[in-house]
Amino acid sequence: MQYTDSPVYSAMKLSGTLVPLPRFCLLLVFFGAVNVLQSQTPDSSAIQEEDYSQYESVTFTDVSARRYCSPKIYDLSPQRFISLAWDMQAPYSSVLSLPGDYSPDLKQGNDGESATATYTGGFRLAANIPVVSRNNILWQLGANVWDTRYNFKDLTVQEGAVGLTNILDARGLRTMGLNTTVFKPLGETTFLLFQGSADLSGDYTLADFQSLRYVRYSGAAIWGRRPHDRKQWGVGISRTYRVGEINYIPVFLFNYTAPNRRWGTEILFPARAQVRRTFNPRNLLLVGYELEGQSYRIARLSTADRSWEVRRGELRARADYQRQLSGFVWLSVQIGWRYDWSYNVDALGNDGREFFRGFTGNQSYTMLNRLGGAPYFNIGVHLVSP
């Protein structure tokens, strides 16, 4: 009998001697048993095909399982995990008022400082990580750091001016924030969306950090429907600083992709509204606007009992071209016009407590400032989400 290098032979060698035939048969019985069991596992070499027409009519094996709508629709611009951008505005005129009591109805205050901003810009870093990502809930946490530096020239200062231009030139403005998003599908077509953020904005530096008393909170709650894979809409309410000061306004979400998959919209009105042109899934253009703003505490102007805050709100009309660079790394280039919505100053109580002026409040501004419009440019590199 010739033994080959088979498992049987190896097993017999282990026993130390060659095995007499009856014992060998005993072994065969055991191996046979193993082989019978093995033959019950799916055969990897010959796949059992099934009738595809059967897949039309199926049920969940777990009867309690439900389907939920996705937070996305077709062709939306990609969500970003990590984003690093540089933002820059072209020169514009800056006219800051003398301090005083200015009614919100007034168009301009008494001029105190005027200059030309030759540089306004800086880096913007943001990260957004999914903490819980399931069918029935999606929870993301994010953080962002924005730095804005200013350079001014041709400064003219009137008597009594507070010197905000020089403070901005010397210290710039920055925002650090944390944000969270919760997407809660209620079923196959309805969902709830919550967004919240806490931002600390001002002329602070890391060495001269601002008290967390001045953290500003904003948020939105939206109820929506996703009737199909190309449309998602919703209505809700938001607390926002997008125009510089706190406001409570209704919001309307409308994300849509046309049947030809070339056109669409990405709208969260009034924060932003954009028309999308999809060249292919790795290459798209958004045209529209975005409101951008925060309330920046100016430590150098604030006193023991008054916190001076620049209510900076900008409307950015823009074209935003986004394309895949490689794999999950994308590039975005924005070119647009920055229109000054507000650069006014409020002097709040030093406990950091906000007040609500809204569209109808008559609380006066401490400074009523005017910035000229300016072209702006933003270039960013992003790691995008699956």
């Binding site: 070499s45 010959a46 796949i47 095909e49 099934e50 009738d51 595809y52 027409s53």
Partner: protein, 169 residues
């Protein structure tokens, strides 16, 4: 200065000569692909395997097995046993895989021309890990065959793959 320039030029020539490479074609023996019946209308999986023995092939050519720098699949020919088999198929997608190498989609034919038993598939422009696949003991061919209607029997085809090997001199 002239001497330095000449030296640099020689160095450059030397480097180019060192990295010079040649290409040769490696054609497999016919590989039988089988999808075991009964088969149903829609996508079915036909499989076959073969041992590339690329080291032996290179040695036959007087080349060291380690000289294989890169490989790309150049051509995939498929022969179907009869026109019945050909008429049944609407599309074919071919993939290569091995135990240690991920599955690579390498060729497609959509649509399959009616009645033709000798088919040439379109080969992928972007190819990865083909050299790695060739260096495995066993390579697996997986063809996703979209059938127009049910077939009680097995579906069979014979594939011949042609690779272009880049050899380090």
């Amino acid at each position: 200065m002239k001497v330095l320039l000449s030296f640099l030029l020689y160095l450059l020539c030397f480097c180019v000569a060192c990295t010079e490479s040649q290409t040769i074609t490696f054609k497999t023996a016919p590989i039988t692909l089988v999808a075991s019946g009964p088969l149903f209308e829609g996508s079915n999986t036909a499989q076959g395997d073969f041992s590339p023995n690329i080291a032996a092939f290179l040695q036959q050519q007087g080349l060291a097995p380690s000289s294989l720098q890169n490989a790309t699949l150049q051509k995939v020919s498929l022969v179907l046993p009869d026109s019945l088999h050909a008429d049944l198929v609407s599309e074919i997608t071919l993939q290569l895989a091995a135990d240690q190498v991920d599955m690579q989609k390498v060729a497609v034919l959509n649509p399959v021309p009616a009645g033709q038993t000798q088919l040439t598939l379109s080969v992928a422009q972007e190819q990865k890990k083909i050299a790695d696949l060739l260096q495995q003991n066993k390579m697996l061919l997986v063809a996703d065959v979209n059938l127009k209607k049910d077939l009680e029997a097995d579906w069979q085809a014979t594939a011949v793959l042609e690779f272009l090997l880049t050899i380090k001199k």
